[in-house]
C-alpha cells in the first residue's frame, strides 16, 4: 500500500461526491447538497495537503524546509479559515458539512477494509499460503 492509495482515495471521493450531488440536490435541496459537496471538497483538499506536508517533512533525505513552510503557511491560514467561513455561513448546516468532510475518511476506511479482506497487502507467498489453506 503506497502513496497511490491516497491518490485513489481522493479520486474515488471526488467521483462519489459528483455522483451523489444531483441526488442530494433533488431529495434535500440546494443548500444541503452544496454543504455536503463543499465539505467533501474541503476534506479532499485537507487530505491532499496532509499528504504533501508529510512527504515534504518526513522523509529519509531530511526535511524539505522551504516546501514544508510554504505548505504549512498555505494549509493552516487558508484552508482552515475557509473551513471556518463555511461553518459560519448560515445557509450551510454544520452537520451536512461534516458529512461531506467525512466522505474522504469513510472511503479511505472502506478501501483499506477491502484491501485487508482481499489480502492485497500480503507478500505473494503469504497470499498463496492463505488462499490454498496452508498456514
Amino acid at each position: 500500500m503506497g502513496l497511490e492509495f491516497i491518490h485513489r482515495t481522493l479520486r474515488t471521493t471526488g467521483i462519489v461526491l459528483l455522483i451523489l450531488f444531483p441526488f442530494f440536490l433533488y431529495y434535500f435541496g440546494v443548500w444541503k447538497a452544496l454543504a455536503l459537496f463543499s465539505g467533501g471538497v474541503w476534506g479532499m483538499l485537507n487530505l491532499w495537503f496532509i499528504t504533501l506536508t508529510v512527504r515534504a517533512a518526513i522523509r529519509p533525505e531530511g526535511v524539505d524546509k522551504p516546501r514544508t513552510i510554504a505548505l504549512l503557511l498555505f494549509k493552516f491560514p487558508l484552508l482552515y479559515v475557509s473551513g471556518y467561513f463555511l461553518l459560519k455561513i448560515s445557509l450551510f448546516q454544520p452537520l451536512w458539512l461534516l458529512a461531506g468532510a467525512f466522505a474522504t475518511v469513510v472511503i479511505m476506511i472502506l478501501k483499506a477494509l477491502g484491501r485487508v479482506l482481499l489480502h492485497l497487502d500480503m507478500d505473494s507467498t503469504e497470499s498463496r499460503a492463505k488462499t490454498s489453506g496452508v498456514a
Binding site: 500500500m1 503506497g2 502513496l3 492509495f5 491516497i6 485537507n46 487530505l47 496532509i50 499528504t51 508529510v54 512527504r55 518526513i58 522523509r59 529519509p60 473551513g83 461553518l87 454544520p94 452537520l95 458539512l97 461534516l98 468532510a101 467525512f102 474522504t104 475518511v105 479511505m108 483499506a112
Partner: protein
C-alpha cells in the same frame, strides 16, 4: 449552575481536550514514523502512507469536536 452556563464552560473545554488528545496522538505518530524511517529508509513510502492515513483520522476527530462546538454554540445565550 444553569444549563447554558454549563454549556458555555464545557464546549471550549471539549474542543481544548480534543486538540490536546490529537496533538499527543500526532506527536506519537510522527515520532514513531521518523524512528521507523531512520531504521528502514527503503520502507519510507509505506511508512509515509500509514502516517498520512493516521494523521487524517486524528485530524478528522478534532474537526468533529470543532463542528460539535459550532452546532451547540448556537444554543448558548438563546
Amino acid at each position: 449552575m444553569e444549563y447554558q452556563a454549563m454549556l458555555a464552560w464545557a464546549l471550549p473545554m471539549g474542543v481544548g481536550l480534543a486538540a490536546v488528545g490529537s496533538g499527543l496522538g500526532l506527536g506519537r505518530a510522527v515520532g514513531s514514523a521518523m524512528e521507523a524511517i531512520g531504521r528502514q529508509p527503503e520502507a519510507a513510502g509505506k511508512i509515509q502512507t500509514a502516517m498520512i492515513i493516521g494523521a487524517a483520522l486524528i485530524e478528522a476527530l478534532t474537526i468533529y469536536a470543532l463542528v460539535v462546538f459550532f452546532i451547540l454554540s448556537g444554543k448558548i445565550g438563546s
